[in-house]
């Protein structure tokens, strides 16, 4: 039993009054279905909403929230649905609020180096817009061509450039947020410093849609580096590849823009998926290291300096890409890995563990141990520069759903226990959502959970805002 009420025809009628009937989907299973899921493979984390509403103004969002709050109907905000934690899945049904009509770039303020956008703007479009101005927004989730900025902010998306540029939260200067009771809360602005009261922006960034709905976002933009050079270093073993990361950074004093780790199997599957004949030999692990800047000669020098340390730590071969075409070729392989595995294994769980960087070899070794113990494959790839490892637990094709469902929780508990022992967490950038919620208690303290609940109750006493997530 839940305490929530379903969407009645009367509520549907009032929502149509608020947004216009064309922007309400109700009693139409075929059109509701795409809003029942995100990008988690498989069918486990799916739930049909009662209704989908697509507002286009802050006033409409506020009116929807007031109506839902009065009637105890849950509301799940949704961006592009490219999430990997079930954050946009309406686990208690109710209303899915799709933000795709909030798709306007409101203002570029070059004097203050900020851009004000609505949450439904595609992350990539922000950078396409900024390019002619010589500026860029440094948030870079791997699903950059489809994800919406509102979803990035809600999940505090990370991605491939976090080593140098940090994650989404570093760039959010202001937020207009509709609270669960329909009040509109404006935070921050075009300010780089602001200690006027509690700093609530970092609380809302990464709150996974459980505290409010963003309707406007002010982002910091920075000068666009004109060149990027990439190194692809092939190592015999995972341990050597990971050990090379701190050696390379401390040895050269250079902060790369990205340091991606891929075990040999993951990279080979990416190449195979793209039909790319890149010779990899018998590499056990691969590092993709990128530097960016405005002078190609400086970048070439940096690549040579980094290369010295990569070789010293055991790299058999290092490829160097300094053209856009070569860079795109390498990054395309990296970005294709999840898709390549999705086609290979019908049952899999994409993990998002994060550990102190020096512990990556330990957690990768643990994945190898668990793979052998449970008879599954666990290829690992991810962001070696920030300790965020995407282990992908893949069941053999002949496993039944029952066997998978019985095995996975045990495997994950063992993996997460090791992650916690190493001082890590179970999600670095994808979020907890409903997918990792059952494991929260085992990896964080009761005091932490109590504090989260106290904040949630203060802002959303009826618990209607994206319920069933995080804790």
């Amino acid at each position: 039993m839940t305490k929530y009420n379903p969407v009645t025809p009367e509520i549907a009628r009032r929502l149509a009054e608020i947004c216009g009937a064309p922007y309400v989907i109700y009693r139409d299973a075929e059109r509701l279905e795409p809003y029942s899921r995100d990008e988690i493979p498989g069918t486990h984390y799916r739930r049909m909403p009662d209704l989908v509403v697509r507002p286009s103004s802050t006033d409409e969002v506020a009116a929807i929230m007031r109506l839902a709050n009065e009637n105890l109907v849950p509301v799940t905000p949704r961006g592009a649905g490219s999430g990997l934690s079930g954050g946009a899945v309406p686990v208690f049904g109710g209303i899915v609020m799709a933000m795709d009509r909030f798709d306007k770039i409101v203002e570029l303020d070059t004097a203050n180096m900020t851009i004000t956008v609505e949450p439904g703007v595609i992350a990539n479009d922000i950078n396409e817009y900024l390019k002619p101005h010589g500026l860029f927004y440094a948030g870079y989730p791997m699903s950059v061509e489809m994800c919406q900025i509102g979803g990035n902010v809600a999940e505090n998306a990370g991605g491939g450039k976090a080593v140098k540029y940090g994650v989404t939260s570093r760039y959010v200067l202001g937020l207009e947020t509709v609270l669960p009771d329909g009040r509109v809360l404006n935070l921050g602005g075009k300010l780089l410093k602001d200690v006027t009261g509690y700093n609530l922006i970092p609380l809302l960034v990464g709150s996974e849609g459980t505290l409010g709905v963003f309707t406007k976002i002010i982002l910091k933009v920075i000068p666009r580096p004109r060149y990027q050079h990439d190194l692809l270093a092939l190592f015999p073993t995972r341990g050597q590849a990971v050990a090379a990361v701190p050696a390379m950074i401390t040895g050269t004093g250079i902060t790369p823009v990205s340091i991606e780790f891929m075990d040999g199997e993951a990279f080979r599957q990416g190449c195979h998926w793209l039909n790319d004949p890149l010779p990899l030999g018998r590499s056990g692990a691969i590092l993709l290291v990128s530097v960016d800047g405005n002078d190609p000669e400086t970048l070439a020098d940096q690549c040579e300096a980094l290369g010295v340390y990569l070789k010293r730590e055991g790299a058999d071969e290092i490829y160097a890409a300094d053209t856009k075409a070569e860079s795109e070729r390498i990054w395309k392989i990296r970005r294709s890995i999840p898709e390549a595995f999705s086609q290979l294994y019908p049952r899999q769980s994409g993990e998002d563990i994060v550990v102190p960087c020096a512990s990556i070899p330990d957690v990768v070794a643990k994945c190898g141990e668990l793979a052998a113990k449970y008879g599954v494959a666990i290829p690992c790839y991810g962001h070696a520069g920030d300790g965020n490892v995407h282990s992908r637990v893949c069941a053999p094709a002949d496993w039944s759903d029952e066997k998978w469902d019985a095995t996975l929780p045990n495997l994950l508990r063992e993996l997460y226990a090791e992650v916690a022992r190493l001082g890590g967490r179970i999600s670095g950038e994808h979020g907890i959502g409903c997918k990792r919620k059952p494991y929260m208690e085992s990896v964080v303290s009761p005091e932490f959970l109590d504090t989260l609940r106290a904040i949630k109750n203060a802002l959303d006493p009826n618990g209607i805002m994206n319920p069933g997530k995080i804790f």
């Binding site: 064309p22 010779p279 490829y319 160097a320 300094d322 053209t323």
Partner: protein, 266 residues
């Protein structure tokens, strides 16, 4: 076997911008790339060199000083040396004169058994320079090669795809081969080769070094005259249905269904 690969530096078609007033290209050094099909030609040369260790690859280009980057890139990918024909007198050369200049360079630095280049350059799109060089040097030429094989007999074969079939053409060296995309990508350069190629001198030669008089090269010597530049006009505007409009998917589906029933757009 001595192979020459001809490469041209072109504006990146992904980021090319036109001056809205004059209609001319805005050239930015950051947006200069090597013609992608020329890189495919280099890739084919490198693969031959891997199979036949006695192979020596020379990269040749004609262009401004900045085109040296294209040659260094080729050297990083496997060419033993780079030769740049760089001369203000050559500016404005059309394909005919370009072929005269490059043929002279190939004669001076050759002889070459095999001359490889891209089927066409992404900026000019003429596809003329390779065959013109062959004519100039009195060599066989095959164009549109999607595969290149050396037979045990020492002869070579290429496959080329036409609209209806795949042709296999057998030929002896010396020859000029213009490759198409299907021949495969260039390899990725290694850091070691890249570092070497950064520092290795690239030979720069002028038209005079090649025995050509100033009145034989450049715009004046070029028979091609650009009379007028026209911008293509989009003949079909298409119909845009935005997903943010009401019932957008239903309307799009209905339009598609109607088109299929009509037998497609005329």
């Amino acid at each position: 076997m001595n192979i020459a690969v001809l490469l041209k530096q072109v504006p990146d078609s992904q980021s090319v911008r036109l001056d809205p007033d004059t209609g001319t290209l805005i050239r930015d050094p950051a947006d200069a790339v090597t013609n992608p099909l020329d890189l495919c030609a280099l890739g084919a040369a490198v693969r031959l060199a891997e199979s036949f260790p006695e192979t020596d690859i020379t990269a040749v280009s004609m262009g401004p000083a900045g085109a040296e980057q294209t040659l260094r890139h080729a050297m990083a990918l496997g060419a033993a040396r780079g030769i740049l024909v760089c001369d203000r007198a050559c500016a404005g050369s059309d394909t005919y004169v370009t072929a005269i200049v490059l043929a002279a360079a190939l004669e001076k630095f050759g002889p070459f058994d095999l001359i490889l280049t891209g089927l066409r350059a992404s900026d000019g799109e003429t596809g003329q320079v390779g065959p013109e060089i062959a004519a100039r040097l009195g060599l066989s030429v095959v164009t549109g090669a999607e595969a290149l094989r050396r037979l045990d007999s020492g002869e070579f074969e290429i496959d080329r795809v036409t609209e209806t079939e795949t042709e296999t053409i057998r030929f002896s060296l010396p020859a000029v081969v213009c490759v198409a995309k299907g021949i495969g990508p260039a390899p990725l350069p290694t850091l070691t080769r890249k570092s070497w190629a950064r520092r290795e001198p690239v030979a720069a030669v002028t038209a005079a070094d090649l025995g050509l008089r100033p009145d034989e090269v450049g715009l004046k010597a070029s028979p091609t005259r650009v009379v007028k530049i026209l911008h293509p006009r989009l003949a079909r505007g298409g119909e845009r249905i935005s997903l943010t409009e009401p019932n957008a998917l239903d309307r799009a589906a209905a339009r598609l269904r109607a088109l299929v029933e009509e037998g497609g757009p005329s």
